[in-house]
Symmetry: C2
Subunit: 569 residues, 2 copies
């Protein structure tokens, strides 16, 4: 039918393909991707007459013509559109095919449907190759409209819905756009560690990683099966050692044969070994090992306390200060008890770090990156974006177009506060009071980007008191070279800064903020030896998906959301 | 000097660029990447006469001509080659520039050096813009040849060495090759969870993630500051409630005014509230919360025990059974106390999952993917591969070429065992005995790929007893549709299988292996509803880097290695 083992061309080349290519557009399987049929500019009409194997899951199915044939809307996840499939009763038991969620593999001929129908092409089935049945009475996600909240209780099946599948494709596109952008600009992708012993911003919000509890549980079980020796057992063993020792002494004093002495010494050693084993076991105590009233972390897996990372920035700086431009893209963690629609315990961050660059460069990079992602979605995911626009957020495509084409406003924090104060004087009410020195609240950020400028805004040079020690102190000694990128719909999308590269200044800042120097010695080394001007930022990847899709709850844009009380699967 | 905000072209387009483009080939900074000068086919000679800003770290520097000028070998991490820089004593204090590790930014003119020198171009400095000094007496990684083992104790500085920088570029290239390969074949990148409550292959080797210990520590501190109420405190509060209750009763009996009764009820409520607060606090106990003699995980962050994932396969199958082809690429964890050169506690895995595909398709995909990565390195990282060939593994480039161009041998496990037995009969000695039913040891795998076939070998259809429950049972009822890809230098690079898609069979297999059904109910749902033939595999990303580079220890091919007793930074 079709050849195997050939690469499928990217979406933007589908238009240029001839029919044979399109039909052979598969992915290590003998089926044809549905997108390579219905995703063509002609909606697949040009493929009429071709024999193909199609496969997917039935979105909707119905028997027609008094049970003489069935219509199936088949989707394989390769695009939001379905392939319409027609099966005659002579080919298969139709009732087994029509339930939503049924998996089918079919061989057939592509035909142009009669005029007046929505489809440009349909598949007339000649043979049903596989049916993965569904009992509609039991299927947890029936065809009826389901809320996103309901779907969160069925994580393992929710990707079978149009919405979660579209989000998966958009998420995939944004991830590859991210890699493409940084690779095109010669940034190296660096895998910073997930497990870290650098407790840099306070352990309170970090997850601890340990084997002490499971080791203690194992030991407890072992001690029940095989109780530790009693004091009497040990005393008896000690007695034996002393007796055997005495025996050796006597043999030696009696000048016994070498062989006799050796045998006696061997007996003594055996007794000693047995005693030391008993003593060792007598020290075993159930529970987590303690020392001086505290948990003894020298017995943990890494011989010290370990946590899940909250950011790869400090670690990736070691690479920026060696191979210049780098970025991370990986999971990060916060053990915050936040039950909001904007927080997750596990989320993905993109963190570039640019050497020989200052805050202006940082803003330029952030702006170019966000624009690149918007253009990418408009070019490669327009069908999914149209789905989101139709079902969730009318304005999402226009928003992408606007951000892709509009220069971002750049204002200092001081200017931002003045604009907010002006708004307050004009009658605008904020829940949080505005004055120089505050950390901008979400309502302030959204006012600036959604109301005042109606476009992305970069706010820079924040008061040093509300920002981290590693941000570069400006000459005014009051502000640091930090910047936040604010966009309509989500507010803060990116936070970044130029890093303090001056050894004396950063040392002073660490001390000033009441942090200990010792854990940062390695970080200070980067300034001690061959220091370099550098900057970077972090983009919350799920925030970017919220921004793009218009979805409201962050739990719906990550495949397996983790939040207080929930970590399904 | 050069414009900003333009994308740098990929390496393979450098040759085609005109000079202006090449000089403008930067990355959000006003410097020029060194690779865009010395990485050109002409070694940069064609750029003579151009003014550029270059930046990087001094690999070696020396004063010449009785201190009248200095030579610096400058490297910025963009390629293995250095840029030769010449600074006259009139331009800067030369002694500040020449120490290894010094960071410099310089403006100058590119010139063709005198005949007889190795370089094709050099930079004559007109102005030194920045110096990040190094005190060579203190610098932890001096110019002398350092062992990889020594460098592991200086993780934060080791990327400044040629070796670790070359590995970083190769690792980056393989990561992007991975994404490019799967994207070209229409696989969706799915982020499977790092935190998991699916304890699928035995908790013994999993890291536990918890906030119970830090919460307990917090509580302990709080209780010291603010001790819990005594029994007497509570008794007194109880007494007060009873008195206030009595007072209300009496007022009601006396038909007192509504206002008086209300005031008295308010007093009673206050007393009740205060009592309930005391009772609440009296329940606080230091230590990890227990219930029925066991740790009470309902009080942990996720209200149950949580672990770090050992594989994203089971979770990603939920997407494969919904949107067909998918892959994961992320960190995975094993809490094994292995001190070998092949094991890490944290490592990266690539796990594609292919719908509507069988074991043959799985092997085809694995083979195409490995070949693609080899070709990618030969095309995009040849300079780094030459560095590895020169310094670590003479044969590494030939190995890549061979694997990229040779069809992989495919033999069944049974055939593999026969070949090994034949070898034993021929005098070959193995430490592990060979007989049908054993799990092939590394020595067996390496014999097959390095000695017998001298090319990659895929072994398939393994005895079911040594493989996981989710692998598809073959019709012989003895073997499962599993496959391993073996390559020279590392042995097993990939392990995969066709998944058991038959509900009754997989249920039976779970039970047969003594596993409980309940935790797998969600996984069984994938077979209950719309089941599909599918397969997948896992590639240990660091193993692939070992294979490519010829480096011996896995701790040197991941930026921040984690293993028993060590998790620096």
């Amino acid at each position: 039918m079709v050849g195997r083992d050939q690469a499928a061309p990217p979406a933007d080349q589908l238009a240029a393909m001839d029919l044979t290519d399109a039909v052979q557009n598969h992915a290590f399987s003998d089926r044809v991707l549905i997108r390579s049929i219905v995703g063509r500019p002609d909606g697949g009409a040009g493929l009429a007459g071709q024999r193909v194997r199609a496969a997917g899951w039935v979105r909707t199915g119905r028997e027609q013509g008094k049970g003489t044939f069935a219509f199936l809307e088949l989707n394989d996840g390769s695009c939001p559109a379905n392939l319409q499939v027609i099966v005659d009763a002579g080919v298969a038991v139709l009732s087994k095919l029509v339930a939503t969620g049924t998996c089918v593999v079919v061989d057939g001929i592509l035909k142009v449907p009669p005029e007046g129908t929505r489809q440009r092409i349909e598949l007339r089935v000649e043979k049903v190759v596989h049916i993965g049945e569904v009992d509609p009475a039991k299927y947890p996600i029936p065809k009826t409209k389901l809320t996103l909240e309901f779907l969160r209780d069925h994580l393992h099946l929710r990707s079978r819905t149009n919405t979660i599948a579209a989000i998966a494709r958009i998420r995939n596109a944004l991830a590859f756009a991210t890699h493409s952008f940084f690779q095109e600009h010669h940034f190296l992708y660096v895998h910073t560690p997930i497990l870290t012993t650098s407790d840099c911003e306070g352990a309170g919000e970090m997850f601890q990683v340990t084997t002490l509890i499971s080791e203690a549980e194992k030991l407890e079980k072992e001690l029940i099966k095989n109780p530790p020796p009693s004091e009497a057992d040990i005393e008896a063993a000690r007695q034996l050692v002393s007796e055997r020792g005495e025996a050796v002494k006597q043999l030696k004093a009696a000048k016994a044969s070498k062989a006799d002495i050796a045998a006696s010494v061997a007996e003594l050693n055996k007794a000693k070994e047995s005693l030391s084993k008993l003593e060792e076991r007598s020290k075993l105590k159930p529970g987590i090992p303690q020392k001086d009233g505290k948990i003894d972390y020298t017995q943990d897996f890494f011989a010290r306390q370990a946590f899940l990372t909250v950011s790869g920035q400090l670690q990736v700086e070691t690479y920026a200060c060696a191979v210049s431009n780098v970025y991370t893209f990986g999971p990060t963690f916060r053990a915050e008890h936040s039950h909001t629609s904007r927080h997750l315990a596990e989320f993905w961050m993109v963190e570039p770090e640019i050497a020989f660059a200052d805050l202006q460069d940082d803003m330029s990079c952030a702006e170019a990156y966000v624009k690149y992602m918007c253009k990418w979605l408009l070019e490669k995911c327009l069908d999914d974006m149209e789905f989101m626009a139709k079902n969730y957020d009318k304005g999402c495509i226009d928003r992408l177009r606007m951000v892709a084409s509009t220069p971002f406003v750049r204002i200092s924090y001081t200017e931002a506060v003045e604009l907010l104060e002006e708004a307050v004087r004009g009658g605008k009410k904020f829940e949080n009071e505005v004055e120089w020195g505050i950390d901008l609240a979400s309502e302030h950020e959204r006012y600036l980007t959604e109301v005042k400028f109606q476009k992305p805004v970069i706010v820079y040079n924040y008061p040093k008191g509300i920002k981290a020690f590693y941000m570069r102190l400006n000459d005014d000694l009051k502000t640091v070279a930090a910047m936040d990128v604010l966009v309509p719909k989500v507010g803060e999308l990116i936070g970044g800064s130029q890093r303090e590269e001056r050894y004396d200044v950063i040392r002073e800042r660490i001390t000033e903020m009441g942090l200990p120097l010792e854990p940062y010695e390695w970080y200070l080394d980067l300034r001690r030896y061959g220091t370099v001007k550098h900057c970077g930022f972090g983009l919350g990847f799920e925030r970017m998906i919220l921004f793009a899709t218009g979805i409201d709850n962050i739990r719906d844009v990550i495949p397996f959301p983790r939040y207080p009380g929930r970590a399904d699967l």
